[in-house]
């Protein structure tokens, strides 16, 4: 992926530690994400990958350390505030409204961009109508981008899993984020669905210039599409670098493959 020029640091994670009671989920993690790159966080089960994402996202408040986005440091921020700063995410177990259509689900991603109040929206008049139209244009472009036109009006619960993942991605993209956090975007997918999803992630990065941080288990995918990789194991960072560097790192090999003691 040499074609992508890495920009300035957009997201910086400094010395983050997170504990649940006596259990240390993360200890002293630092890494940075440069503008326009695809950064991945890998590690065995329980390594603290999702916790890391939840810290960036504002779901968890780390006991120690700071996260800064474009130079603005935050320690105690709510998920909504983080979202307003331009960070969107998808979820490992999908966070979609199963009974609502694909269109409406992606429309919910525009919530932050809406300024009219509930009453105006209820009668859908004047400003509310204009606002819905302009937001609908953005959503329709995403539907076109993700090639899900045929399912626009289908309730999400009736779609196969791979397509639901795509809708989840669409919902996150509807926020027009600067940084997109993807929590295991390929989990549970077959080979073809993985190829499609990889294609979409690369296209998002390319077409919208979105910076992407993703957690993934499938090493082939990580090595193929990511610029740089952070490796976590038991809450500690054990590797950081390009896919080739990480692959050659002995600590990483032992964490993944085990070593003879």
């Amino acid at each position: 992926m040499a074609a992508r020029a890495a920009g300035d640091v957009i997201l910086e994670v400094r010395d983050i530690s997170l504990a649940f009671g006596g259990v240390k989920a993360l200890s002293g993690i630092s890494f940075d994400v440069r503008e326009h790159e695809i950064r991945s966080i890998i590690g065995p089960n329980g390594a603290g990958k999702s916790s890391m994402l939840n810290c960036i996202n504002g779901v968890y408040q780390p006991q120690q350390g700071a996260i800064s986005l474009r130079g603005r440091t935050f320690q105690h921020m709510k998920p909504r505030q983080v979202a307003e700063m331009g960070v969107a995410r998808t979820f490992q177990n999908l966070a979609l409204f199963k009974g609502m259509s694909v269109l409406d689900n992606i429309m919910t991603g525009r919530n932050l961009k809406m300024r009219t109040n509930l009453f105006q929206q209820a009668i859908r008049w004047g400003a509310a109508e204009r606002e819905e139209t302009s937001n609908r244009i953005v959503v329709e472009k995403l539907i076109d981008f993700l090639e899900i036109q045929a399912y626009r009006k289908v309730p999400v619960g009736r779609l196969p899993y791979g397509l639901q993942k795509r809708v989840d991605l669409g919902r996150a993209l509807a926020m027009e984020p600067q940084v997109l956090l993807l929590d295991e975007p390929m989990a549970g997918m077959n080979l073809e669905e993985k190829q499609d999803m990889s294609r979409f992630i690369l296209d998002v990065n390319d077409e919208f210039g979105t910076t992407i941080v993703l957690i993934e288990h499938d090493m082939a995918v990580v090595m193929d599409i990511c610029d740089r990789v952070v490796v976590l194991d038991y809450g500690r960072k054990i590797g950081d670098g390009t896919p080739d560097e990480v692959r050659a790192n002995p600590d990483v090999i032992s964490a993944y493959l085990g070593t003879a003691h």
Binding site: A3, L103, R136, D144, Q149, D203
Partner: protein
């Protein structure tokens, strides 16, 4: 009366500038392009192409789905006296080499990254190919190939150029003669390589108008363009007749949304090959099988009534009062909602052609009130040769010769056609042209058939495929493979069939099961299966197919001329016949000689009396990679029947 396509465009743009010409669903909304906007777009494209150096008589390749800007590009090429050559968008890159080299193509206008990639892959073999323009730039941002640019850039350049050369476009359009070449279509050909069929403005427009007069088409009709533009049928229905009549052509949002778009548009004039009608009926059948019992009961009752009185109603015959009431109730409860679900609510005229259509299928659509008819024609005849008049529709004929057409049957039984719509020539192939087009103007269709007592044409088979059984109990009997195959394909469980028997002592066949229909059948019986190959060899499935074959045999026994070609043995193939493997043409006709060669070991097994045969086949995936499928196929013997006539 004689004109050209660009002139027709300008006439529409002058006479009714704001009327819709094309619609395309994009971003969830049907976007309309008026005749005036279209004419402007064509002028800009023509300016761009002229600036790029396109000369009269040169060929421009156009590849993609039905997209308004690709249609405009074809018109722009024609406006400059150049010849658009539409190619099949689902063909592999290798299949583009011959047309590009053969027609010395320098310019290509394509839909998207997929097509660009294919052209770049073969660029080294097509030395003349200099410029490629794409409609949809997605994924192409980082391409820096020389000569590759977007249609937007071409249009912008063309606008500037047209501004600097006022009157150029009008002069170019005026300069064209109706006898100039308008388009070239590469026929897939069930044998040998593709041939470019050359048509002039004259031949295409004459046939388009004759067809339009036959069915009284007007500017108020609506058409959905969803079949490959490289196929002449699509070109006639949504290009030649579109410009001749001035109706609206609607382009679907994507290939996946065709069924939804069909419902939204509700076309009044519809065309589909039989497999599309088959597919729709299969969907309806499967959904009805899954419906609740009361609904199923209602559906079955209403359909029984429709089958009894519907066809007569469509033929304009008087019905008994009770039947009329019953049909009206059925219409309110079942037929009208069903037509709506299928997107056929407003269909006034629907055609099917290209392959024989099963009687059950044909009757089904007509009985629910859809005016489905058959036509006969080919790329070489600009489609319209025979059409079925509204109230004289039958399953086993293809209609009467329409205005301008003369039909004769040669001594050998081959159908000959003389019409103003015949091809000018096969491109750069005078030998092939002379073979089909005599100096006296008669075109040899290659079909065996005859005109029946009421003047309708009946086609039996491809003339070259009709053979003889040699030796055995039926020595000398007529062998018409396609006739047999079609009978088999009329069963929903059979997708494709290939019959062998010419020069042999009995008839044997390959069968392809329909994965969806047989899969559903198996699920209903709790019959587990792992894959297509696995399902195809289940004893219960072989038994199912055997029943179908025996029914065909019983049917053939009643036909005095064809009683001798009942099927003695068959096997079910382990993979679907596929155009990517060269087994079918792009229009999905079986290439029987190729199949006989490729599966020679299976054919020998059929005739040598073995009960099973192991086979390994290379398959080509959509992305061009290859793999292998291996299986051991069981061969099944089938009961044949004594001819009904002689048995007594």
């Amino acid at each position: 009366m004689q004109t050209t396509f660009p002139r027709l465009l300008l006439e529409h743009a002058a006479a009714r500038p704001n009327a819709p010409a094309l619609r395309e669903k994009e971003f969830g909304i049907w976007q309309t392009l008026s005749w005036r906007d279209l004419a402007e777009l064509v002028e800009a494209l023509a300016g761009g192409l002229a600036e790029a150096g396109l000369k009269r008589g040169e060929h421009v390749v156009v590849v993609g789905e039905n997209r308004p800007r690709l249609y405009a590009a074809m018109l722009a090429a024609q406006a400059l006296g150049a010849v658009p050559v539409p190619l099949y968008q689902d063909a592999g890159a290798r299949e583009f080499v011959f047309p590009l080299v053969n027609a010395e193509v320098a310019f290509a206008i394509v839909e998207d990254q997929e097509q660009v990639d294919k052209l770049l892959e073969i660029r080294s073999e097509c030395a003349k190919l200099a410029r490629i323009w794409f409609d949809d730039g997605r994924g192409l941002r980082h391409y820096s190939e020389p000569g590759l640019a977007s249609l937007d850039a071409l249009i912008a350049a063309g606008r500037a150029w047209a501004g600097a050369h006022p009157g150029f476009f009008a002069a170019q359009v005026a300069q064209a003669s109706p006898h100039d070449v308008a388009a070239m279509f590469f026929t897939s050909g069930t044998t040998g390589t593709a041939k470019g069929v050359v048509h002039s403005h004259d031949t295409l427009i004459d046939r388009a108008r004759a067809g339009a007069r036959f069915d009284k088409l007007t500017a108020r009709d609506e058409v959905l363009a969803y079949l490959p533009p490289a196929w002449i049928g699509q070109n006639i229905f949504s290009y030649a007749q579109w410009l001749a009549c001035g109706y609206v052509v609607n382009c679907p949002e994507s290939a996946d949304t065709v069924m939804l778009d069909l419902r939204e548009i509700g076309p009044t004039y519809y065309f589909a090959p039989p497999r599309i009608f088959e597919g729709l009926l299969t969907t309806v059948t499967i959904r009805m099988e899954d419906a609740a019992p009361p609904k199923r009961w209602l559906f079955d009752r209403c359909m029984a009534l429709a089958r009894r009185v519907g066809p007569a109603r469509m033929d304009g015959k008087p019905l008994a009062l009770l039947d009329r009431i019953g049909y009206a109730i059925g219409n309110a409860l079942v037929y009208a909602p069903l037509r709506n679900t299928l997107g056929f609510s407003r269909v006034r005229v629907a055609y099917t052609a290209g392959e024989a259509i099963g009687p059950d299928l044909f009757v089904f659509y007509r009985s629910i009130g859809i005016n489905l008819k058959q036509l006969y024609g080919s790329t070489e005849t600009a489609v319209f040769v025979c059409l079925q008049p509204d109230h004289e529709v039958r399953n086993d004929t293809v209609g009467v010769p329409i205005e301008g057409v003369e039909i004769r049957v040669s001594d050998a039984g081959e159908v000959l056609v003389r019409s103003p719509g015949l091809l000018k020539a096969y491109y750069k192939d005078p030998a092939a042209t002379a073979e089909v087009l005599g100096a006296d103007g008669w075109y040899r269709t290659g079909d065996a058939g005859f005109l029946d007592a009421s003047g309708h044409l009946r086609i039996i088979d491809r003339a070259k495929d009709v053979g003889k059984i040699v030796g055995g109990a039926n020595d000398g009997a007529l062998f018409a493979p396609k006739y047999i195959e079609n009978k088999l394909k009329f069963f929903p469980y059979v997708k494709e069939a290939v019959a062998f028997g010419d020069g042999r002592d009995k008839v044997c066949a390959f069968v392809n099961i329909d994965f969806e229909a047989v899969g559903n059948w198996a699920e209903k019986r709790n019959l587990p299966y792992g894959s297509y190959t696995d399902l195809a060899q289940k004893p219960a499935v072989l038994e199912l197919v055997r029943e179908c074959v025996e029914k065909v045999n019983a049917d053939l026994a009643g036909d005095e001329r064809l009683a001798g070609c009942q099927i003695s043995r068959f096997l079910v193939l382990h993979k679907e016949l596929d155009a990517d493997d060269g087994e079918l043409t792009r229009t999905r006709k079986v290439r029987r000689r190729f199949i006989a060669e490729r599966y020679g070991v299976l054919v020998e097994a059929l005739y040598s009396g073995k009960s099973e045969q192991h086979v390994e086949t290379e398959v080509r995936f959509e992305d061009g990679r290859t793999g292998k499928v291996a299986a051991t196929l069981r061969i099944v013997d089938v009961k044949t029947y004594p001819p009904v006539g002689r048995a007594a």
